[in-house]
């Protein structure tokens, strides 16, 4: 009797803690959504409330199609498109470049393999943020400001994916490549027929992590894109909050809804591909 009773009390405590944690994570976003469902005038007077309004469609319309600035190019649709390009371009680029380099390092007899390894893996040491200005200058010199290449390629210049695939390839039994060689597979065939299919889950996991990472980039796009047509959602939000600052009636509905749209694709990916996502995160960071 006493045992089961004590157990129940501790369970109640556990659940209360978890519910509080879950609310802490979820309420702020519900709040943004609520504010996006009422008129800006209402929000301006009352702030976030408990009742949802009927303004979501209108605000959605504004969020997707209205633009600020001089060119009118930074509509929500345009920014969403740019974010997609950054997310996909970064993830695909990183995985392709990383897999190829890891393949060369692990599966070939290279005289300078150790050197290549160190040259590549030193990049894990310094994040982009500490070399941001000179990177900017170089992109400028190369004429890549306000281009997708300038946005994506410098972000690929760290070897996280390469390192990850190297670890993975090394864990694949030696005999597999030997069997393949006896079966008459050359380096390209082995890569395409065996290594890539074997790495499928790894690629998926990596892709998810990299897509989110690329999508959420802020500092680099802020520096490299000044052309409003090149803004990504994450970068464009700042612009909108700043415009809000200067006006009498800030567009809360629009900016909050844009914030939600900006987090929606990565959040959905995390929720629906949870297993791969967790795998990618916990296995790539170590």
């Amino acid at each position: 009797m006493t045992v089961s009773k004590r157990f129940r009390w501790s369970a109640v405590l556990d659940h209360s803690i978890l519910i509080m944690g879950a609310l802490l994570m979820i309420l702020p976003v519900v709040m943004l959504l609520q504010m996006a469902s009422t008129t800006d005038v209402h929000t301006m007077k009352n702030g976030p409330g408990l009742v949802f309004g009927d303004q979501l469609p209108l605000n959605f319309q504004k969020a997707m199609f209205k633009a600020d600035g001089f060119t009118g190019a930074n509509t929500g649709v345009r920014m969403l498109y740019n974010s997609m390009i950054l997310g996909f371009g970064f993830a695909i680029g990183k995985i392709v470049v990383g897999m190829m380099a890891a393949y060369a390092i692990v599966y070939f007899r290279l005289r300078f393999a150790t050197l290549a390894f160190w040259v590549i893996f030193t990049t894990l040491l310094l994040p982009l943020e500490v070399r941001i200005l000179p990177s900017y200058e170089i992109v400028q010199k190369l004429g890549m400001l306000n281009t997708y290449q300038g946005l994506i390629i410098p972000l690929i210049a760290s070897a996280t994916a390469t390192f990850f695939f190297r670890q993975f390839f090394r864990a694949i039994p030696e005999e597999l490549v030997e069997a393949a060689r006896i079966d008459g597979a050359g380096p390209i065939k082995f890569f395409v027929d065996i290594l890539v299919p074997l790495s499928r889950t790894m690629i998926a996991a990596m892709f998810i992590i990299m897509f989110i990472y690329g999508w959420n980039q802020y500092l680099w796009p802020t520096m490299i894109t000044t052309d409003e047509g090149m803004y990504t959602l994450v970068r464009g939000i700042k612009q909108i909050t700043q415009v809000n600052e200067g006006t009498n009636l800030p567009e809360y509905g629009r900016s909050n809804l844009l914030s939600i749209i900006a987090i929606l694709p990565p959040v959905l990916i995390v929720i629906f591909f949870q297993r791969w996502f967790v795998k990618g995160l916990t296995e790539s960071d170590k």
Partner: protein
């Protein structure tokens, strides 16, 4: 089909370690040769040089009438079965077996026919659409075999193909592999450290130790006339008894027991298989038995002969007790070795 010839083939790894000292031997067409020896003696290295997976440091390797030192593994017309099978995990059984053929640009219908044929031979037909992870150990083993035989190679290479199986399955697969090889008549080199496999499967056994070939011979030669004390103690379970003895006046003696004849006067090592010592109340040897191992079909008696450890193998019908017994050595069952070098005299 092919003959394999090694001429002073030697392997030095990049770190300077000489894993195989210069070795020369020939394997006849259709022969089943087993490479046996303790762990780390260089068996795999030897096999992998024949396969082309490891560069040959010096010497010459022929398969058929070609020198293949610099030929790619895929072009040596060989097939190999690995210890962990090395099946492609993402391919079905049929694809696994057919992959080598596909790479040789053989038409799909011919591949299908050959895969079918191999699968029938190996009782794999109902598993052709499964992935390796959905198979038992023995079935995976068969798939690995199928991958090897489907290509009609002129040489089979096996690297401890049965060591991941349990004892019962190992016995069964041993017989299957041997029967298959007989039927196909393909020259085979088989690496193992299990001396039972070596004895039962081989036409000829190559015993290696520390990168050196100690003996090449038929199972019977290797067992009954070991070329060195190493071979004597490696082959056979329990191993051959090795006793310190002395030859003088044409007779070999262990302590004060007279065992054999020999011309020179010298110390030597006397080797006798446990089953060559038979209890005999009128026999010349007095052995003090201290422990009896019951093995069902027979028994092992452990004891001492003049303070030297000795083991005797007796039939199950033989009454035994601990304590002193008398025994005799079968005629011509004594091997003599040099004390220093351990080589047979």
């Amino acid at each position: 089909m092919a003959q394999v010839t090694l001429n002073n083939v030697r392997k030095v790894y990049p770190n300077g370690f000489e894993a195989v000292k210069p070795a020369s031997f020939a394997i006849n067409d259709g022969e089943f040769v087993v490479l046996v020896g303790p762990s780390g003696c260089g068996k795999s290295t030897m096999l992998r040089m024949i396969a082309g997976l490891e560069d040959i440091s010096s010497g010459e390797l022929n398969i058929g009438d070609r020198v293949v030192n610099d030929v790619d593994p895929a072009d040596r017309d060989i097939a190999m079965v690995f210890q962990n099978y090395a099946l492609y995990p993402h391919m079905t059984v049929a694809k696994n077996i057919g992959y080598g053929l596909k790479n040789r640009k053989i038409p799909a219908d011919q591949i299908a026919a050959k895969v079918q044929e191999a699968a029938t031979m190996l009782n794999l037909t109902e598993y052709l659409d499964r992935k390796p992870s959905q198979l038992s150990g023995g079935q995976r083993q068969r798939v690995a075999m199928g991958r090897a035989i489907v290509r009609d190679p002129s040489l089979f290479l096996f690297d401890e193909p049965l060591s991941n199986l349990d004892a019962k399955l190992r016995n069964q697969m041993r017989i299957e592999i041997k029967a298959l090889q007989r039927r196909l008549g393909v020259t085979s080199v088989y690496v193992t450290h299990d001396q039972v496999e070596a004895m039962t499967m081989a036409d000829r056994i190559i015993v290696m130790n520390g990168g050196v070939i100690e003996q090449i011979g038929t199972p019977s030669e290797v067992y009954h006339s070991p070329a060195s004390t190493f071979v004597a103690s490696f082959m056979g379970a329990p191993p051959m008894n090795l006793l310190n003895g002395h030859a003088a006046g044409g007779r070999v003696r262990v302590g004060d027991h007279d065992l054999h004849h020999h011309d020179q006067d010298r110390p030597l090592t006397v080797g006798i298989r446990p089953e060559d010592i038979v209890p005999d109340t009128t026999g010349p040897l007095q052995i003090n038995v201290s422990l009896i191992e019951e093995l069902g079909a027979h028994r092992l008696l452990h004891g001492t002969l003049q303070d030297q450890a000795i083991t005797i193998h007796v039939g199950k019908d033989h009454p035994v007790t601990t304590g002193p017994i008398y025994a005799a050595v079968k005629p011509n069952a004594v091997s003599l070795f040099d004390v220093e070098s351990g080589m047979r005299l």
